[in-house]
């Protein structure tokens, strides 16, 4: 093993597998906090029926009742317990977020891979298509789709997926293009390996971790997009999501009634999920890209030591 004799801290220790990378990420405190938040919300979503203290379809308290010991977050305009709404709403919000991200990742990953690997006219065509999707205004598209086919959650998932895949495609394409030029890929080609083998065994493992980071960050955007669309009334009004909860509250004059507990909790929930995604996603990205490390720009200088017990050396 050669000594560290370079000043350049961007020399990175090569990862021998996904596990080493994961272990590295989990050492970061911000990553742990982010992951903890996400896990908490996912568990909350899974066990929503068990966790909700009240049924979300039945009134259990007065209109806009303020928070009390029986109803921790008060009630909404229909007398339905707010805490149960937030917990149940989380389930659909998260599902929509994850589903939309899955759509985005599949489309974006596939297109990015093809584009980056084959280059040439395939790249040009696919990137032009990506550009067209980039300029589509989200709201307009959603309005059109709900006007034509009616508002529903699956439409929301599709729309968000269609809007978000472009980001993933670009990230994947950049990484694939760079891996493509590496000597070991050229060597695999020289051996006679076919495209499929090279993509699966050599390119994807290098793209995978970056794709995961991108996915986590995309989930944040998807959850936010769903909330925003629901808030604007473009989602299925019968579904219980954080967005629709806030939308109902706004619609039914919670603001003038001063019932902050009808609006704020759902909003905080969305913010927390997004924060969790970013903390975790960014840590993965930082771990994968050594150039983002800025240790070598540290204002700390090297340290002086005194030698103990050394006599004058013969010259």
């Amino acid at each position: 093993m050669s000594a560290i004799s370079q000043v350049d801290v961007a020399e990175v220790e090569v990862q021998e597998g996904l596990w080493t990378a994961i272990r590295g990420v989990l050492r970061e405190r911000t990553a742990m906090v982010g992951l903890a938040i996400l896990v908490l919300f996912v568990l909350m979503a899974i066990f929503a029926p068990l966790l909700s203290p009240y049924d979300v379809h039945q009134a259990s308290c007065g209109v806009f009742e303020p928070p009390s010991s029986k109803h921790w977050l008060g009630c909404d305009d229909g007398g339905i317990d707010m805490l149960s709404l937030v917990i149940t709403g989380g389930r659909i919000s998260m599902i929509v977020g994850f589903a939309a991200t899955l759509v985005a990742m599949t489309i974006g990953g596939g297109i990015g891979l093809m584009s980056g690997y084959f280059g040439g006219w395939v790249d040009t065509v696919l990137m032009r298509i990506t550009d067209y999707f980039l300029v589509i205004p989200d709201l307009v598209l959603m309005i059109v789709i709900s006007a034509v086919w009616g508002p529903s959650l699956s439409h929301v998932v599709i729309v968000i997926g269609i809007l978000l895949w472009t980001g993933t495609a670009r990230v994947v394409r950049a990484q694939v293009k760079s891996v493509r030029e590496r000597v070991y890929v050229k060597r695999a080609q020289a051996i006679g390996a076919g495209h499929w083998r090279i993509i699966v065994r050599h390119v994807l493992p290098q793209v995978g971790p970056l794709l995961i980071a991108n996915t986590v960050l995309t989930i944040a955007v998807a959850v936010f997009d769903e909330t925003a669309l629901a808030f604007l009334g473009l989602s299925d009004p019968t579904a219980t999501t954080w967005g629709t909860v806030m939308e109902h509250a706004f619609d039914r004059t919670a603001v003038s009634a001063g019932a902050w507990w009808a609006i704020v909790p759902a909003g905080i929930a969305v913010a927390l999920v997004i924060m969790g995604c970013y903390l975790f996603g960014q840590s993965i990205e930082d771990a994968l890209n050594p150039r983002l490390k800025v240790a070598h720009l540290s204002p700390r200088s090297w340290r002086l030591r005194t030698l103990v017990g050394r006599g004058p050396d013969a010259l």
């Binding site: 560290i4 004799s5 200088s301 090297w302 002086l304 013969a314």
Partner: protein
């Protein structure tokens, strides 16, 4: 009092998990004006770290001890603040890969003038004139100062890097692998330039390289480094014709000679891992003539004859048991 004196230099790097890498283990060097010393070693020998320490350019993960004196003044106790006033004005460096380290959005002339601005030695028209002078000195037309780095070839950029190093009129020039990425013809041009500059400006040169032949071309003296320490030092002529240390001998044997007929040798094994303390002689596992004292006792760098020193038990006779 020497122009540059390094005495008992030690450098450690922090490793993850609380361990340390003892990259430089007690190096002694002196340089007089006009002297050309080659510092030779393979990867991991600590030669680049030694050069960077002379400039005080270690990362925050490093700690150092020892004496680094320019004209008798020890710079180490002051840390970064001790080194900065002397950096570039007394001791300048051409870094490894310097030709690729130019700022692509600034003209070459601007970049060569930058150290002058930073140290306040010249500015404005005076700086521009000096830039022109420096470019001519390294063999580039002065008008090229207005060009950008990408318009220069590799060889020209390396010359520009040398010009930049000379901007504040230093007395000592450190060159770390100045010709490694260059073609042989350009390499010859750069080495000729370095020799010429030393003669004309009275510069002292420390040439850090892995290539013994390059040192033989350019320098009179050479210090061979292995595992963080100097194992032999002296005039290169003597080292070539009668190498004392087995590593020196093996290194010459591994350097193919164009017209020679001897088989080219290689050294089995690898240098020791410097994150753990070395017991006895660091070269012993690979040494064909190691004997009993080499196992436990670390050989000291002792005088052989004239200015020659070597760190080998065999050469000096085993030390008497105390």
């Amino acid at each position: 009092m020497s122009l540059l004196e390094i005495r008992d230099l030690h450098v450690w790097f922090d490793l993850p998990g609380g361990r340390e890498l003892h990259a430089v283990q007690g190096v002694d060097l002196t340089l007089e004006p006009g002297q050309r010393l080659g510092l030779v070693g393979e990867s991991g020998s600590g030669k680049t770290t030694t050069a960077l320490t002379i400039m005080g350019l270690l990362p925050s993960s490093a700690s150092a001890a020892g004496r680094v004196a320019v004209r008798g003044e020890d710079l180490m106790p002051g840390g970064e603040n001790g080194f900065r006033p002397h950096r570039w004005t007394d001791v300048a460096m051409v870094f490894q890969g310097a030709m690729n380290a130019f700022n692509p959005v600034r003209t070459v002339g601007w970049q060569i003038a930058e150290p002058m601005q930073a140290h306040g030695t010249a500015s404005g028209a005076a700086a521009r004139a000096r830039v022109g002078e420096l470019l001519e000195l390294v063999g580039i037309p002065a008008a090229a100062a207005a060009r950008f780095p990408h318009e220069f070839s590799g060889g020209m950029r390396q010359r520009a890097a040398i010009a930049m190093a000379l901007a504040c009129d230093p007395k000592v020039l450190l060159a770390d692998e100045p010709t490694t990425a260059l073609d042989v013809m350009v390499q010859a041009q750069i080495l000729e330039l370095l020799g010429h500059l030393c003669d004309e400006l009275g510069l002292a040169l420390l040439l850090v390289t892995h290539d013994l032949a390059v040192v033989a071309q350019t320098c009179e003296d050479v210090a061979v480094m292995y595992a963080g320490e100097i194992v032999e030092r002296g005039p290169i002529d003597e080292l070539y014709h009668s190498p004392a240390h087995p590593y020196t001998r093996a290194l010459f044997a591994a350097t193919p000679d164009l017209y020679g007929d001897e088989a080219v040798g290689s050294i089995p094994g690898a240098p020791p891992d410097l994150s753990s303390p070395v017991i006895g002689c660091a070269y012993r596992p690979r040494c064909p003539v190691a004997f009993e004292p080499c196992v436990e006792q670390r050989p000291d760098l002792l005088a052989l004859s004239g200015t020659r020193v070597a760190a080998c038990h065999l050469v000096h006779g085993s030390r008497a048991q105390a």
